[in-house]
Symmetry: C2
Subunit: 192 residues, 2 copies
Amino acid sequence: MARPSVKENIVAAALETLHRQGFNATGVQDITDAAGVPKGSFYNHFESKEELGIEVIERYWQRALAGLGMLNDANVPPIVRLKSYFRALDEISRKKKYENGCLIGNMATEMSDQSRPIRERLAIVMAAWTRGIESCVREAQADGSMRRDIDARMIAAFLLNAWEGTVMRSKVDKDRAALEAFETVVFTSLTR
Amino acid sequence: MARPSVKENIVAAALETLHRQGFNATGVQDITDAAGVPKGSFYNHFESKEELGIEVIERYWQRALAGLGMLNDANVPPIVRLKSYFRALDEISRKKKYENGCLIGNMATEMSDQSRPIRERLAIVMAAWTRGIESCVREAQADGSMRRDIDARMIAAFLLNAWEGTVMRSKVDKDRAALEAFETVVFTSLTR
């Protein structure tokens, strides 16, 4: 196996530190220290912390995209897939005692008005995430398990946004109450 | 009228700068500069930026609480009040071109894992905010305009969390689409 490159080490370390501490609270030095590389090597690979921030969003999104795969599992009824999907996301947070939250949501909140390139990347990612949920919502509408009087794309966007707010609240309360409210309200009011 | 005190000037300036830039991107110097007071005067009034952060949350919350008043207006049907409430919040964001977002949500996302006192204050504020929404939800359930098969407190918590996620998404997309999804899904699926 090839040795991980310096660039790869920096991205992996940045994903972890930016997720835990946030963008502005993390210096380039914190990242290179965590990566075990000299600070000077940073600028051989990245123009700026902002450029690395975009790379980190991309990396996190690639992982999230793999997780979205369960929304396409044709062996499971679509409404069950949707419920399992959000429960699985919560399970990841619960194991971390509801620390850190969602990197996409964190960057959205902290950086949308500080960096246009970061905001634009987040908009693309959130649109793609919405589409991933939408296809499952559409299947659930088609098989009659989800209400059809609301456009699938709107339901999907709403679910993602409500989910991000749920993660934020769990981070404050450090418990599962926000997930319970999400699950109960969504799967009572949108199913039929 | 008494001249505003140095402390009051600092809190007012901090509310504006912390809301716009976030907590970690704002230094004490930025705040005292914005307040037009010497940096040295800061520590005569606050032990730390964290203590000021809590004061700012409290100040923002007092304003939000005044806005919550419309949820109690007995001249308007409760379901209409709820819709108008979230629409009024969106109107404030829209006027600011969806910049800044919600200070409570911003602090929750950025600071929950960095400062326990800030997190604890946010938990109290979000619980109180939930109760303010809950009483209106309860009225809407009582007059038959909102579904009764989900507990009012759960609906209220869900609405607040979903709203925070909606604000986050508007900040990324810089448009009203997230509000439209919120309004359509909530007021189609929870009303009857």
